[in-house]
Amino acid sequence: MLLLKIPMSITVKFFASLREQVGYNETSINVIKPLTVAEVWAQVCDNAPLPPHILMAVNMEYVTQDKSVQENDEVAFFPPVTGG
């Protein structure tokens, strides 16, 4: 039996020094199977390793790199925060 795979759209955001390193603040990717946050990073950043202190969020909640990402999710990567 043939499975028709409908691609899922995922938004990926970068902030602060990471945004400057990546060169843009937002992109969108289409994937045909669920990915973890680490796999989203790898796909967007040409398989570069995850920077050591990087923080990750899915739909504006902190997550770890093994969190799985769903259709229409917003994934964000950013350096340690320095507010206040």
Partner: protein, 148 residues
């Protein structure tokens, strides 16, 4: 409870006066603990001319609401207020205002301290400093200590 992300100059004491007038619990609180964070003209031994504050719109507000709710659950407090600047700031400018109202001083102090510690460690804001000879992103010392 109030959370505000502000791109204009912030006068913390005027904000406190205005906000206190809106509190319904007039005469009910006996203690207010507040914290004001101000931009210094130096950091890590260098003169800082100005600073740019970036944030993750949406997630910042969500996170600040979460810690405000946590504070209300953990301490016997009546209300809380958090206001944080974004955009271009100058030395002497207020960056953040946190306040907690309570019947007594211990919960007011503890909730206020909790809010600023949580904000500093997890709220998605980033500072970029303009020095005499260039710009640099501020690094979080505690994350270096914790992660290295």
């Amino acid at each position: 409870m109030k959370i505000e992300i502000l791109s204009e100059k912030l006068n913390p004491y005027e904000c406190l006066q205005v906000y206190e007038k809106t509190l319904i619990a007039q005469g009910k609180w006996g203690a207010v603990s507040t914290f004001v964070g101000t931009m210094r003209d130096y950091n890590e031994g260098d003169t800082v001319q100005s600073m740019f504050l970036e944030h993750y719109q949406g997630m910042t507000e969500k996170y600040l609401y979460t810690i405000s709710e946590m504070a209300k659950q953990r301490w016997d407090i009546l209300d809380t207020l958090i206001i944080h600047r974004i955009g271009e700031v100058q030395p002497g400018d207020t960056i953040v205002l946190v306040a907690a109202w309570a019947g007594h001083r211990a919960p007011a102090f503890e909730a206020c301290r909790f809010l600023i510690e949580e904000l500093k460690s997890r709220a998605p804001f980033w500072k970029k400093e303009t020095l005499n000879n260039g710009v640099r992103w501020v690094e979080n010392c505690s994350s270096k200590v914790l992660c290295n």
